[in-house]
């Protein structure tokens, strides 16, 4: 409503400026990766957490964005900003085409269909021949340039992606507190009742799907410009699963969940890489994988609503809550 409700976002804005004092490209790249994943998970959070539709195929949209940006800039010499826009729009269009039929499916069937779509797109990246560079991928993607600013180092890129993420967060805050947000929630809770309130569920689910594809595509485009090399392997089914895990770990249907999920998963990865070798000398990824899996399972058992809901434990009842009448 008022500024005070955006306190979290404003604080985040301050937090973004603090690291500028630190001269660590590693920190910046970690934060860039977190922001890129988080953008994908924001969209997925709307789709899964609000509209209640699962997708195991978002790595495909992420990849489509990446490849769109890469192909347009290296093969057709498009300006980078325009290519980034296209990277968001193309996956959106594809989502619009496939979504109407696919979203009729429910639960596990929808999971299977989106999984299939993800694998299909991955095959297209591999089989794209000259256009996609096949399994070897394509390198030499130029730096992203907006106006006269070229985002050619980690710090600049960090500012750009977090600024974008912040804008998206504000938008999502608006969205979930609007009529549309309530309608999305109502679809998740009861499609019957939502229809009876006049919500065109099919259309709204499709819009949420397109929205999530747009964000995934945008993130994919940013990824391509950031790493400047792209190949099919980061866009496999594993990545789709990773995105779903981030959304779930953070907490579905919560505002901070997607960001939290991306922060936790990426930091956990980095942390385990640092810590595990200290605990078990000479240990490689295998221990990390096991620990990662165990943490995931434990979280699902003991905190199935995601990490955001842990916040409740910190909450002291400031005002006596209204008690329902017996």
């Amino acid at each position: 409503m008022h500024l005070k409700n955006h306190k979290g976002l404003i604080l985040l804005l301050f937090l973004l400026v603090i690291p500028l004092k630190i001269d660590s490209n590693y920190l910046y790249s970690t934060l860039v990766i977190i922001a890129i994943y988080s953008i994908v998970v924001q969209g997925l959070g709307i789709l899964m957490g609000y509209a209640g539709q699962v997708s195991f195929g978002h790595a495909a949209f992420f990849g489509l964005g990446g490849y769109t940006a890469a192909i347009l800039t290296t093969r057709f010499q498009w300006p980078t900003l325009l290519a980034l826009l296209a990277a968001a729009i193309l996956p959106g269009i594809i989502a619009a085409i496939i979504g109407r039929q696919t979203l009729k499916l429910r639960e596990l069937y929808l999971a299977l269909a989106t999984l299939g779509f993800g694998i299909l797109v991955h095959i297209i990246f591999n089989e794209g021949g000259e256009l996609t560079g096949g399994p070897s991928g394509m390198s030499g993607i130029p730096n992203l340039t907006i106006g006269i600013i070229s985002f050619d180092n980690d710090q600049k890129f960090y500012l750009l992606v977090w600024f974008m993420l912040l804008l998206i967060l504000v938008g999502i805050y608006n969205l979930v507190h609007s009529r549309t947000g309530r309608a999305l929630c109502s679809i998740r809770e009861s499609e019957y009742a939502a229809e009876n309130a006049g919500v065109d569920c099919a259309r709204l689910k499709l819009q949420a799907f397109i929205f999530s594809a747009l964000l995934a595509g945008l993130a994919g485009g940013l990824y391509a410009f950031y790493v400047s090399f792209i190949s099919p392997s980061p866009f496999s089914f594993h990545t789709s699963v990773q995105f779903v895990l981030m959304a779930v770990i953070g907490g579905l249907g919560t505002f901070w969940g997607p960001l939290l999920g991306a922060v936790v998963v990426v930091s956990l990865n980095e942390l385990l890489r640092e810590i595990v070798p200290l605990l078990i000398p000479g240990a490689g990824g295998e221990y990390q994988i096991i620990i990662y899996g165990i943490i995931l399972v434990g979280l699902m058992i003991f905190q199935p609503k995601g990490l955001s809901s842990i916040g409740r434990y910190f909450r002291l009842p400031l005002k006596k809550e209204l008690k329902p009448e017996g």
Partner: protein, 399 residues
């Protein structure tokens, strides 16, 4: 809505905690990076880093590379290090993931690594290039794709130790010409290894009088290549060339025999380990392949400059790990020793190390004799490979 804003506040607490912990964890490497800038004392260790595909899809490459590096560092430090400086090697696992590869490279640079060895495969190596180029850190990749070091104008800081596919393919082409085989069937794995092989052979057979009459691919996960081979059988190919690694290369070799093909079968150096023969369960006999000299070290003439180096690497490795080393370990051996010899001359200075690496001449390694130049950041020629035949489960040099 009021409730929501309260929720926001509380959740923010948690978010804050996380961000702060992240900041703290990120600060520590920065401090280490500061240390590096102070003048090095006499026995200040030289920090080097390695990013390897230890787990994930390409782990069969990364593991022997890690083992080799650990062995080399131990040996070097016990012998007094480089000009009195011990080597402090940090090995990071990128889990065969390109994004993790980038992050691992940045961590290492942050920690003050003078150079980076790795990554193990083409994709993970390619992903690190932008980082090392912009941070100006020498990198020696252990992967084969020639696009890792070409064009050298864009790859000033990137080197690699594995032979490019073209080296291996020229070996095969000369064999084909000698035996008057000019209709080939080419089968390759549908990944960047196979793809690079395909690109190299397509370029190499152009204007050579050799034609590719059948071209088929298969997935790394495929369990049966009979369909592809039955197509080859129906073609008029005189020889089959396969660009793949085990296990699919082994499955293919078994299927090759099953469908009753009798024409020569030539594999790539990707099958250059005992595992390939073992998994093919007898079907590998008679298979030809170009390979680095490591596998046939005992069979090469004493006059070969590599002989001594190869034998000592094998001896060391067998002593430490009780198993034979393979060519991937060899790439790591080469990368490590190339770097060590550059460090000896250049000291702890990234720019100077890069310069020394580029000036490498006549360096005798496991994969061949390296002669680098500003135009060639691999430095290996056709003489670094030999053609071998599988004979009763053993490699047999046929030259």
């Amino acid at each position: 809505m009021k409730n929501m804003s309260k929720g926001l506040k509380r959740r923010l607490g948690l978010a804050l905690l996380l961000v702060i912990s992240l900041l703290i964890s990120a600060c520590s490497p920065t401090k280490e990076a500061d240390v590096k800038s102070t003048t090095a004392s006499a026995n200040e260790p030289y920090k080097i880093g390695a990013v390897l595909d230890i787990s994930g899809n390409s782990s069969s490459l990364g593991v022997p590379e890690r083992d080799t590096l650990l062995m080399m560092v131990e040996k070097l430090n016990s012998e007094g290090g480089i000009n009195g400086h011990p080597v402090d090697l940090t090995i990071m696992d990128n889990k065969s993931d390109e994004t993790e590869s980038v992050l691992a490279a940045k961590t290492l640079i942050e920690k003050g690594s003078l150079a980076i060895l790795g990554a193990s495969s083409s994709g993970t190596s390619m992903a690190m290039i932008k980082t090392v180029e912009s941070e100006k850190v020498p990198m020696i990749s252990l992967a084969a794709a020639s696009s890792i070091v070409e064009p050298t104008s864009d790859r000033k800081w990137v080197f690699k130790t594995a032979q490019s596919d073209i080296v291996m393919i020229s070996k095969i082409i000369s064999y084909l010409k000698k035996n008057d085989l000019n209709k080939i069937a080419f089968l390759y794995m549908n990944n960047s290894y196979g793809d690079n092989g395909k690109k190299a052979i397509t370029a190499a057979v152009k204007d050579s009088g050799i034609s590719i009459v059948a071209e088929e691919k298969f997935d790394a996960n495929d369990k049966d290549m009979t369909p592809q081979l039955s197509k080859v059988k129906a073609s008029e190919a005189q020889v089959v060339i396969v660009w793949a690694i085990p296990p699919s290369a082994s499955i293919l070799t078994k299927n090759f025999k099953d469908v009753g093909l009798t024409i020569p079968l030539i594999h790539s150096h990707g099958v250059g380990n005992q595992k390939f023969i073992e998994l093919a369960q007898g079907a590998a006999d008679g298979t030809l392949l170009p390979i680095g000299k490591l596998s046939v070290a005992q069979q090469i003439t004493d006059a070969d400059p590599q002989k001594k180096v190869l034998e000592s690497y094998i001896a060391d490795y067998v002593k430490k790990y009780n198993s034979e080393p393979n060519s991937f370990g060899g790439y790591a051996w080469d990368a490590f020793n190339l770097l060590v010899s550059a460090l000896e001359k250049a000291g702890p200075d990234r720019e100077a190390i890069r310069g020394e690496l580029e000036k490498t001449q006549g360096f005798v390694g496991i994969s061949g004799v390296f002669n680098m130049s500003p135009e060639d950041h691999n430095g290996l020629k056709e003489d670094s490979a030999v053609l071998v035949k599988v004979d009763q489960g053993k490699w047999k040099l046929i030259e």
